[in-house]
Amino acid sequence: MSDLLAARSQMAVSLAFHIIFAIIGIAMPVLMVIAERRWHQTKDPVYLDLARRWARGTAILFAVGAVSGTVLSFELGLLWPRFMELAGPLIGMPFSLEGFAFFTEAIFLGVYLYGWDKVSPRAHLTAGILVAVSGAASGIFVVIANAWMNTPTGYAVIDGIMQAVDPIAALKTPAAFPQALHMTLAAYAATGLGVAGIHALLLLRNRTNMFNRAALTIGLLVGVPAAILQPVSGDIAARYVARRQPAKLAAMEAVYTTQAGAPLKVIPGVNIPYALSLLAFHDPKAVVKGLDSIPADEHPNVGVVHLSFNVMVALGTYMAIVSLWAGWLVLRKRDLAARPRLLWALVIAAPCGFIATEAGWMVTEVGRQPWIVYGVIRTADAVTPMPGLIVPFTTITLLYGVLGGVVGWILYRQIIRSPRT
């Protein structure tokens, strides 16, 4: 394994691990706040129990998210020092703002988790709302920094070296909006449907359990709208990619030759004529650039990107369909717990959002290669000169493997097993 590949793999493992905890940390506070608000309104102890249990789970997941996020912020320099040296003055802005958002999140999460008996009910709920808002904000700032790597702005190239010029222009990078929207919705869709799926499984065993019914409803309340909106935001994001990063789009759709009226390859052998041009440019006759129009040494890994993209789209579509189904039943005031087929569909949807999120990051990160800053700095030129990077890669992978296992075991033991009511 080359040092470059080891560094990329370590970054991939660190991101893949952190993103799970990050999206749960963004969305769970919303579920907790809804449960607590319902408790205030109805005085039904089921909601208080729910809010407290979710808070316990969130405490564990947030802590692991915070420390694995710290690892990532150091790894930006440990693995890619040349990138940070050149890009730091530009992407430092969103990271600085993220620092303060994260501060707010950590402070009020402390108040929320440990303050049940120390602050007034209203102050407690407000702390939860602040955690939810600052969590979303800190996710958005980090995604803006990543968006800048896809559509860099605010720099000048002098003597072949990138120079930071305008950090505000960098903050307003074109990919910021579509990426931040797509990622924020992903957090709510994955977590909301994840929670709904877990409690759907428990309801299949015992459909009268009030605790699980309440949890299912709140999970759907957060997950369903996000999962339904996600294909729309995906469309916006894909059209940005089509215009700004043609090589990434070509890899996503495995387009080898430039063509007008390009078909969409659904699965091998099944093509929908004109559909790709229509999706990417909202024009059935539009020309889609193929990999043949891009120098060979600037091609991303088509196999990985294309497969990841299809996995993401397939799972996202499934989640949107199940969400429409559940939403339709809710609007017609049907009892979801009495619909085993829907419950099973939700159980299957539970891991989908997390897998789709991982696949989506594979698309955007592998699809940007061989660039670390698209069209400006190559990943190979940014890697640390230190040899033997397979050692930290292996170490971090083992650490996260063990940690992931322990977290799963504790969550199962402490949180998911529902009270026997």
Partner: protein, 320 residues
């Protein structure tokens, strides 16, 4: 321009100071968890967990803030540090991950108390070793001279007797802060007494480790001499206050003692960020970035300080 980069360097040192005074004490708490002893062993551990629980994550963010400001405002220094100190920083990160995770696992009944305590012990040593490598003027050279072997470039810079001494010194400082703070976290005079004795003991260790670090220092100017005198005065006040059981005074004096050590280091190597060759101004990002970072800091502070005050008011009423 010159003034602006120096202001931001001072803010980074201030954030690092906040991390040491607050986050450092959380690591020190982990060490006292490991060393819990005597008839009140369990109650000591409970007190430590109760003191750390609500605040450790917020305290941890000071490190992130210092790091982010470093790569935003002084990207050249950040890149050099990240290359030369790759190994100890990676080890420190593993310590940070294990400490934080094991702490929550322990609270939520998953075990992991041992891992929490041992990671609390190792992580501060590694942090101190990195600081020691910078203070010894090893990082500027390592980043600047290519072509040396692996050991010369990535190990010899930080694996020195001086770095190790600074690492152990950092550990004793954190343990000292934690013990002093813990006297204020409980109304129980017995527990207060336990941590009073530990604070006095750790305070002696701090002075011995400081002497050791100075004895093996590669050059005379690792700490500014005038500030070192102030550190001595603060140490004396801390001991007196602990002796007289004036814990509120002891806390302020102990925090001042440790903060002054950090600033003594900063002043001693001024105007260099990474001695012997990289100055603060030379490592700085373009002025536009520095201006915006300062603006972000001011806006952030408006949100941050009232929130922090609220957090400490809710959970540290006894201590405030």
């Amino acid at each position: 321009m010159l003034v602006l980069s120096h202001t931001l360097a001072a803010i980074i040192l201030a954030a690092l100071t906040a991390y040491v005074l607050l986050g450092g004490a959380d690591f020190g708490g982990g060490m006292w968890d490991l060393l819990a002893d005597g008839p009140r062993k369990t109650r000591q551990r409970e007190l430590i967990a109760r003191a750390i629980g609500p605040v450790w994550e917020a305290n941890h963010v000071w490190l992130i803030l210092a790091l982010v400001l470093l790569f935003t405002c002084f990207p050249r220094a950040f890149a050099r540090i990240a290359i030369a100190l790759h190994i100890p920083l990676t080890l420190m990160l593993i310590g940070i991950v294990l400490r934080g995770s094991a702490f929550v696992f322990q609270i939520y009944g998953g075990g992991g108390g041992r891992v929490f305590a041992i990671a609390s012990l190792v992580t501060p040593v590694l942090l101190g070793m990195c600081v020691g490598a910078i203070a010894a003027a090893n990082i500027g050279q390592a980043g600047g001279i290519p072509g040396g072997g692996f050991h010369a470039l990535y190990v010899a810079t930080w694996l020195t007797s001086f770095s190790l001494a600074v690492g152990l010194f950092t550990l004793t400082c954190f343990a000292f802060l934690a013990a002093v703070y813990l006297t204020l976290e409980t109304p129980d005079p017995e527990l207060q007494g336990d941590f009073r004795l530990r604070a006095i003991g750790a305070g002696v260790w701090v002075l011995m480790m400081a002497a050791l670090a100075l004895a093996v220092a590669p050059h005379r100017n690792v700490v500014d001499h005038r500030i070192a005198a102030l550190v001595g005065i603060a140490a004396l006040i801390t001991f007196l206050a602990l002796w007289k059981r004036r814990y509120g005074v002891a806390r302020i004096a102990a925090a001042a003692e440790v903060a002054l050590i950090l600033w003594g280091w900063g002043v001693a190597q001024f105007p260099y960020m990474l001695p012997p060759d990289l100055t603060i101004a030379g490592a700085a990002a373009p002025p536009r970035t520095l201006n915006l970072a300062l603006l972000a800091l001011i806006l952030g502070a408006i949100v941050l300080f009232p929130s922090l005050y609220y957090l400490f008011k809710v959970f540290k009423t006894r201590a405030i």
